[in-house]
């Protein structure tokens, strides 16, 4: 009896796999796009600035301004592409997006400094992407800080000797890739799993075979488990592949407990599968299922803390993120990858995903029986 119960589930799961891998296009679409995307997005998604084009408008004739400029010429962050001579040249360069910023050094810059007075440098930035502008401004501010400290030390500093000594934990060189790559893993897996599961019931509904499935000796729980297995198996295999790429190719070390990572992954997959099956059970056609999956994926990715911090969101939106499994999974991924976390520090992230998963699966099972046409 018990044996039969599981062999029926196994048979359904096997059938689901065959349906997915039946034709070449479906096979390819499950494997290649996620791998290609982790490669492209992994390299593309970074907030770190590199070789940003800038222009310099030096109205000063002296030597000190040249020393000041030389730090920008030697910097890898910036690339000085133009030295301008007139006020009028500033606007077109910025308007046309030729440069991100213009450094405007005032006349008498060198004289003022040599007389012990303050000299002024104006930084004119293109604010069309205000985050890039702010990041660039921060780079310049810290370069200026170095210059000031050096200048004061050479020319007899007065005032209190209070310097800032900064250390960054977990990500010493502040590489944004370390932060974003685990997020890309979570988002890609979410997309694949949700589409696989969301289409599984809708496809049968559209073809009319779901009614047949319901009159087989299998009970809805068995159908539910059989439908859930492919998504979880594919998710585990694909995540493992992507994890290997992240560690080997992008050289991001796993500092924490890999078992905790896999427990988190497993719970995340159960939650995502549950959500996918609910969408699938509600939809009558595959088109509705894909659109439904999409209407979930986009908010889930945006409100997960993947690219922008949850703490910056308004409080009501922050509350909404608590029903998003990706939120918890990203904390686990970053916790294990960067912060070296284990089970204890991550416990509060595990159980919400388990609850989301169980609630959705039960609801999907209920919908199987109660939404009939």
């Amino acid at each position: 009896m018990n044996n039969q119960y599981f062999s029926q589930i196994f048979a359904l799961a096997l059938k689901e796999f065959l349906a997915l891998f039946r034709d070449k296009r479906s096979r390819l679409i499950l494997v290649f796009p996620p791998l290609l995307q982790i490669l492209i997005f992994g390299f593309a998604a970074t907030y770190d600035l590199d070789n940003v084009p800038i222009a310099i408008y030096n109205q000063d004739q002296g030597l000190v301004s040249r020393e000041f400029i030389s730090q920008f010429e030697g910097s890898e962050t910036f690339e000085v592409i133009e030295y301008i001579k007139k006020d009028r040249d500033i606007a077109p360069l910025i308007d046309n997006k030729d440069v991100l910023l213009v450094l405007n050094i005032e006349p008498q810059f060198s004289d003022k400094l040599q007389q012990g007075k303050s000299a002024k440098v104006q930084v004119i930035l293109d604010g069309r992407n205000s985050n890039t502008a702010m990041t660039a401004m921060n780079y310049i501010a810290s370069m200026n800080l170095d210059f000031n400290q050096k200048w004061s030390a050479q020319h007899g500093a007065t005032g209190p000797k209070v310097a800032l000594e900064v250390r960054n934990w977990y990500n010493e060189n502040l590489q944004s890739r370390w932060f974003i790559l685990p997020g890309i893993l979570g988002s890609l897996i979410l997309v694949v799993i949700l589409l696989v599961t969301a289409l599984s019931v809708a496809r049968e509904r559209e073809a009319g075979t779901f009614d047949q499935l319901l009159v087989t000796p299998m009970n809805p729980t068995q159908i539910l488990i059989g439908k859930a297995i492919p998504g979880i198996v594919i998710g585990l295999l694909e995540s493992t592949l992507i994890l290997i790429i992240i560690v080997k190719l992008f050289q991001i070390p796993i500092q924490g407990d890999i078992a905790a990572l896999y427990l988190g992954l497993f719970l995340f997959l159960i939650a995502a599968t549950g959500i996918g099956l609910v969408i699938s059970a509600i939809s009558l056609t595959q088109q509705q299922a894909v659109l439904g999956a999409f209407l979930f994926i986009v908010p889930a990715v945006v409100l997960s803390g993947f690219t922008t911090p949850i703490a910056n969101m308004p409080d009501s939106v922050q509350l909404l993120t608590y029903i998003n499994p990706l939120r918890y999974f990203l904390i686990i991924l970053r916790g294990v990858f960067l912060e070296g976390n284990g089970f204890t520090l991550l416990f509060s992230q595990f159980w919400p995903m388990a609850i989301i998963g169980v609630v959705c699966l039960v609801f999907a099972g209920w919908l199987f029986r109660h939404r009939m046409y």
Partner: protein, 378 residues
Amino acid sequence: MAENKTSARNMRLMGMLRKEMWQIIRDPSSIAIAFVMPVVLLFMFGYGVSLDAKDIPVGIAVEQADIVTQSLSDSFEQSEFFKPSYYHSIQQAQQALEERKIDGIVWLRSNFSQNLQAGKQAPIEIIINGVDSNQANITMGYIQGVWQSWLIQFSSSRGIALNLPVNLEQRVWFNSALNSRLFLVPGVIAVIMTMIGSLLTAMVVAREWERGTMEALMVTPLSMKEMLAGKLIPYFILGMGSMFISVALAVWWFGVPLRGSFWVMVLVSSLFMMVSLLIGLLISIISKNQFVAGQTAIAASFLPAFLLSGFLFDINSMPTIIQGITYLIPARYFVAQLQTLFLAGNVWPVILSNAFALMVMLVVLAYWVSSKSRKTLE
């Protein structure tokens, strides 16, 4: 005779259009996606995606409190960017950092004030959680700001006029308050239109292939061109409708200034919409099944528009190969146009060069679609 031909063609096209319109009206999910999704997405991005840090939880570890450390704590207290909490030892503060209760620590050792009074080196140690490196950079910038103004205030209170050798004066054009919503909302419009154009069309046409109704259409007198036009026109209208909703919300709800011309925006948007529609059509012709079409459309439209368009991440900072790939993403051109039209105005060099790129894409895609979509069966 020639007249008869055109009228017959018009009739066929009108018939096709009517069929497509009914199909859209009967299945409310595509109307939902065209009109509800822009609203949902704009609100989500408008409120959910913000790079403006506020109330950053920072721990101030003061090993020995006195007037000097108090004045520094007050400076953090007064800053709108920080929400300080206090610890008496660095161990407590570090534990809070590990538990993610605070994002950074300002550590004043027990001999800080003493060294400062004696004119010795008195460093302030800063520890920041670097996991989110962008946030860490921003936090560091704010800490420097607080530290610098405290230093000037502290010196002047003791009769020393502290003047910094070089003073930076920051002028941010187009978005002087550095409000990230102003650049994110125009970018979202590009993401929304990409999804409506590509995802919706890909799904709809793939469904016809899967159900075999495409073959049924093929045996009618309809030419392939008429068939495709009949498919695309209704979705073009839906897409432009959602564009108007998005722009209205951006301007009147989110307060994004529209400094360029509205009509120029309509023109470049319709150009971009056509490119998106053709991409959707191409995906559906190649995949011919809804599962593959859905996966491909998301992989080829949503994520690239989100990550490779310059909407969030600076294209100039990407590795050269990836920069090359971004030239293949139509959203890249549209995002540049939208951000410029909204925030900067009619800057013709930016608008025209990007419009030209979109036009090249349009021609290439149209040729590709027509060569792929001969009336042949496999």
